[in-house]
Amino acid sequence: MISVENLTKSFGKFRALDNVSVSFDRGNTISLIGPNGSGKTTLIKSILGLVIPEKGMIRINNTEIRSNPAYRSQIGYMPQIGRYPENMSIAQVVSMLKEIRKDCTSYDEELIDGFGIPAIQNKTMRSLSGGTRQKVSACLAFLFRPDIFILDEPTAGLDPISSELLKSKIIKERANGKLILITSHVLSDLDDITSHIVYLQDGKLMFYKEVEELKESTGEEKLNKVIATIMQTDYLKVHAL
């Protein structure tokens, strides 16, 4: 569904992505993990066309993404930090996006109702807490029933109930055959929803494995333990990844 080939991007001298090739298929939830500055957000933004890579190619459904923005109608994006025009109300932001996306006529408003947005829809964006803004971002990502979801730290700042609601929504969409890309530092949140792990370090792809396989080879059950084991031992060398 998404295929990335030899993607390279530098910011000045800093190599954010170094010759990364990877492909993601529908029906999977793929977690991008890695330390700060490892290139997760750059990879996501390259797929969205927000960052222009200097080398490499990205294809979505076998079409190269360069220069044609139409492909983005298949993607629902939830940014890490949601900031909106201060004096707009939630209802205005939602109706603005609906007007922009005239091509879409059926809306997925499950999260809007689940988060209780209608009750606060006339509040201005300025008056909202970080968590509530995060909820608005989540609602917008799911609103137009896209085939691909790109969620950048989706659960950061959400209360436990909302976080669970979002996670069950992610599981449901995956069951519908959608592709979900998540970055997160909160590994425990990814536990029940992830099918694959992509590990990036210093802009390089260290490994791309199924979660079950990783659990077996490390002998751990929890995702954070799995990753910790990988980091501490010379797992990468031993398994020649």
């Binding site: 066309g49 927000l50 940014p79 707009m88 205005q92």
Partner: protein
Amino acid sequence: MKTIVKYVLLDLLRNKTILVYTFILAVLAVSVLSMSGNSSKGLLSLLNITLLFVPIISILFATIYFFNSVEFTELLLAQPIRRNAMILAEYTGVAFALSIAYLVGIGLPSVLLNYSLASLTLIVSGVLLTLIFTALSLLIFVLFKDKTKGIGAAIITALFFTLLFDGLLLSFIYSFSDYPIDKPLLGFISLNPVDLGRILVLLQLDVAVMMGYSGALFKEFMGSAIGSVYSIACMSLWILLPLVISVRKFRKKDL
């Protein structure tokens, strides 16, 4: 694109800075116009207020607005929208809001209290300056990645055109005073939109005769219809060029 312009405007017309800006301009305009008996004097003061406030407020407000809406721009660009359309829509929204503020603050009082060709010229010149300095701030936003540096560049740009440029101009006139420099001077002045705006209005007022020999030359050239068209054309170029460069640079900008 229309949708984005509409919602940016909806947001900005409730923005406190815009409201305060409109209010201060209106208070100044009404008090200046009702105080002086001589309408030419009143307009001259309004011209000075325009040349002092419009460039710096427009460029600062717009630069801060563009930098603050980076995340929102990102969110909209994750939709199937072209980059050109997005950035031009943002420009149109901000420029429109600032122009409305100027029209209500200075335009309305001067048309109501002192209707004349000179007042209309002042309004045209003020709106053009708003559009120019908003375009320059878009260029600053596209060229700089960091908000603080961007705001610094905005302040320097505004100061350059309102203060520094005239200093350079004076030293140019002083050091070449033995030569016939009137025509090069005309060209030199085209490089500063603030001066163009000033001359456009001054030549509609009686004070133009006070400007001496070069004043007479300007009056002959700029006071004529061709002169006005020339300065408006130059000011339009001052809007278009930054916009074209911004759109081109923005295509390759990493967000």
